[in-house]
């Protein structure tokens, strides 16, 4: 429909669609349905994409993220992280509402108000100090709550591990972000550079906490691709269930599967 959307907007849309995917790139998929179920019919393609992404990561994203982590002051990193999280509040809010979780929607609103004011434009997470922690939500999680399955596994070039549900979710997150429309419709010259800065910082901010764990996983695994696939799915499951990694799963769930010693 070339006539409906002006081409300049279309190109921004296309590029920004890429951003949203990237921002999500290191999260995906739930459901540890069966321990031995790979749910990865496109594995040869996915492996090729995984290798490509890792090569790019090693050449560019990881060194940049490491530099950022090691050579910028910690308070600055924390401030940037908090500000990025604060800017995502509309998406968190929309999705808590779509999930019918009004209690958590209230927390999102409270956090946004408190952190944007007392927290100096979101730089300080004042709300977390009083117990209102971030409610990280996205449309992929909403779809999961609505019963959409997170299989099969897909690895997109540049964008990383995902699945059909979360890929659709990422597009929905992009178009439901008021800042995206604000940036596109603004006459202000700085709007687009700011949008790109936010995108770049989001990618780096997401990569930093994974620098050590991913390196460790690569070093200790005999099949890095499968190790990452499993890791990513587990993390995504925690997000969907609104759990922290330190929360206790119920019996028979998560890492509390049954294990009885084998006779050898």
């Amino acid at each position: 429909m070339p006539g409906i959307i002006p081409s300049s907007i279309r190109s921004v849309l296309r590029r920004t669609a890429l951003c949203a995917f990237c921002a999500l790139s290191l999260a995906a998929t739930p459901a540890l349905a069966d321990v031995d179920e790979a749910n990865d019919p496109a594995e040869p393609f996915n492996r090729a994409m995984f290798d490509f992404n890792m090569a790019l990561d090693r050449a560019l994203l990881a060194p940049v993220s490491r530099g950022y982590r090691d050579y910028t002051p910690d308070p600055l990193q924390t401030g940037i992280h908090n500000a990025l999280v604060n800017l995502r509040s509309p998406i968190d809010l929309l999705n808590t509402l779509l999930q019918g979780d009004f209690a958590r929607a209230g927390i999102v609103i409270k956090r946004f108000v408190v952190n944007s004011t007392a927290g100096i434009g979101g730089l300080i997470d004042v709300a977390a100090e009083t117990g209102d922690e971030r409610q990280k939500e996205d449309f992929g999680q909403t779809l999961a709550v609505w019963g959409v399955d997170g299989n099969p596994y897909v690895v997109w070039p540049l964008l990383g591990p995902s699945n059909p549900r979360d890929s659709i979710g990422a597009v929905a997150d992009l178009v439901s972000d008021p800042l995206f429309w604000l940036g596109m419709n603004s006459d202000w010259d700085a709007a687009e550079p700011l949008m790109w800065t936010r995108f770049g910082m989001t990618v780096i901010d997401n990569r930093v906490p994974l620098l050590d764990p991913l390196e460790e996983l690569e070093r200790t695994s005999v099949d890095f691709y499968v190790a990452v696939r499993d890791f990513v799915r587990q993390q995504r499951m925690l997000e969907i269930m609104n759990r922290k990694s330190s929360d206790r799963p119920s019996e028979g769930e998560g890492y509390r599967f049954s294990f009885s010693p084998q006779q050898s």
């Binding site: 031995d36 790979a38 690569e218 070093r219 691709y225 990694s245 330190s246 890492y255 599967f257």
Partner: protein, 219 residues
């Protein structure tokens, strides 16, 4: 490392803990088990930190110390059977024994080859809870710099009250499951248990030679 006085003192402390917990009228029959498992893990980590990581030993001596500790604390044959899955039942006793040796070597070498990174590591046990058969000891492990990681140690009691470590859960990720999935994939690709063992042998050689493992590169 196996100082008898140290061990006796630990045992006494464990007994004391158990007795205290029994009389604490918590109404929880598993409380004593939880306390024992917690002590088992605390002791294990203390030994790893003081007798291996921070000890003034050669690399070979460290490997030996760690191996003794690992073999004593973990149910390696049980873990080996679990990570192989279905093929384990049909494998010959010789093959099982060979795999257990290989698995033990690779586990130890991957850990020992980056020992320096664990220097100054801090661990804090934050809680524990029990199922019918298992105790999950919860901890936060902090690297020199950076955020602490949530690690859960899964412990099972065996005949005679012997405790065995069977799983390490990192950020809610069971290493037992993760390893089983990796092995399933390698076995499917490289022709069953023999193929997996070939990959692991190569990994072991690379680790011994101080090279980065390359087993994962082949597809």
């Amino acid at each position: 490392m196996f100082n008898p006085i140290h061990r006796a003192a630990n045992a006494a402390r464990g007994l004391f803990c158990a007795v205290v917990l029994l009389f604490a009228a918590t109404g929880n029959a598993l409380a004593a088990d939880t306390a024992n498992a917690t002590r088992f893990i605390t002791d294990l980590v203390d030994r790893a930190v003081n007798d291996v990581i921070g000890a003034d030993l050669s690399n070979a001596e460290k490997e030996e110390s760690f191996r003794r500790m690992f073999v004593e604390a973990a149910d390696i044959p049980g873990i080996a059977g679990f990570v192989i899955g279905r093929e384990w039942r049909t494998a010959s006793p010789e093959k099982k024994a060979a795999f257990i040796d290989l698995f033990e070597d690779v586990s130890i070498l991957t850990w020992i080859s980056h020992l320096d990174e664990y220097r100054g590591i801090k661990i804090e046990v934050t809680g524990a809870y029990a199922d019918k058969n298992d105790v999950f000891v919860e901890s936060r492990v902090g690297p020199k710099d950076g955020q602490p990681v949530a690690i859960v140690w899964r412990v099972q009691e065996r005949d005679g009250g012997v405790l065995k470590l069977i799983d390490v859960v990192i950020e809610a990720n069971s290493m037992l499951i993760n390893t089983r999935k990796q092995y399933a994939s390698v076995m499917k690709r490289d022709g069953g248990l023999d193929g997996l063992m070939a990959s692991l042998s190569k990994m072991r050689d690379d680790l011994r030679a101080g090279k980065k493992p390359t087993a994962q590169a082949q597809q």
